[in-house]
């Protein structure tokens, strides 16, 4: 199970700039689906990467499904050298994304977000409209059903 309160608390309390996207964002908007990881677009500025490392290190991040023995250090140098990381942590799986197809990086996505309050913390979630656009841009057949649900959700919210 993903320990969302612990992850959000750790990230928010360290002032990490991140945007929740993907399945968890859809669920926060009202989608009736289940997902097993948290997708976050993070700001890649050196100070933010440093805060991100500080926030997540207590959860002992490691690469998900990496071959045994593959060396991995969750530190600023590693995050700065890469872009997207699929991680397992003691609080559950988390994907750290430097960019998303169709949405760009953190700063480009920021105007298309809303702020929500969950577990006593404020965090940014991609807007429902942008989430639909991101999933359409990804063009993955596995997302078609989710897009249909998100569009129905948008219609229901408009009708409400």
């Amino acid at each position: 199970m993903t320990d969302l309160p612990s992850l959000i608390e750790a990230l928010a309390d360290r002032g990490v700039r991140f945007i929740v996207v993907g399945g968890v964002a859809g669920i926060a908007h009202g989608a009736a689906r289940t997902t097993f990881d948290v997708d976050c677009v993070y700001d890649r500025s050196p100070e933010n990467v440093s805060r991100l490392v500080e926030a997540l290190s207590p959860f002992h991040p490691c690469l998900r499904e990496a071959p045994a023995g593959l060396p991995f250090r969750f530190d600023v140098a590693t995050l700065r050298a890469g872009l997207n990381f699929t991680l397992d942590t003691s609080a559950g799986p988390i994907d750290l994304l430097g960019e998303v197809p169709g949405g760009g990086d953190h700063d480009r996505l920021l105007p298309h977000t809303i702020e929500i309050e969950v577990f006593g913390r404020r965090c940014r979630v991609v807007s429902l409209r942008r989430l639909i656009e991101l999933k359409r841009a990804a063009g993955r057949p596995k997302d078609f059903e989710a897009i249909a649900e998100l569009e129905a959700l948008e219609e229901e919210r408009g009708a409400g």
């Binding site: 199970m1 993903t2 320990d3 969302l4 968890v24 669920i27 926060a28 908007h29 009202g30 989608a31 009736a32 289940t34 997902t35 097993f36 929500i116 309050e117 969950v118 577990f119 979630v125 359409r136 063009g139 078609f144 059903e145 897009i147 249909a148 649900e149 569009e151 129905a152 959700l153 229901e156 919210r157 409400g160």
Partner: protein
């Protein structure tokens, strides 16, 4: 084998149309009563529900593994 030519703009457009059609088909089967119910809840309540569902899914997966292990166990009693 010769490499396939890059898609023409009109091909991409028809691909987009067919994806839109698929999504419209899926949309017919969306349970909107469930969505209306979700919309009555706060974002935090929705995330708590997600964690409950994850826990349930993990428990079911564990039970399935136990059942499979028991089936393959040499100590399993033979079927009558």
């Amino acid at each position: 084998m010769a490499p396939s030519p890059p898609p023409r703009p009109e091909d991409r457009s028809s691909e987009g149309d067919s994806i839109a059609e698929i999504i419209e088909l899926y949309k017919r089967d969306v349970d909107r009563t469930l969505l209306r119910d979700r919309l009555k809840r706060t974002p935090e309540q929705r995330l708590i529900d997600l964690m409950r569902m994850q826990r349930l899914a993990e428990e079911v997966a564990r039970a399935g593994r136990r059942a499979r292990d028991a089936e393959g166990s040499p100590h399993r009693r033979p079927a009558p």
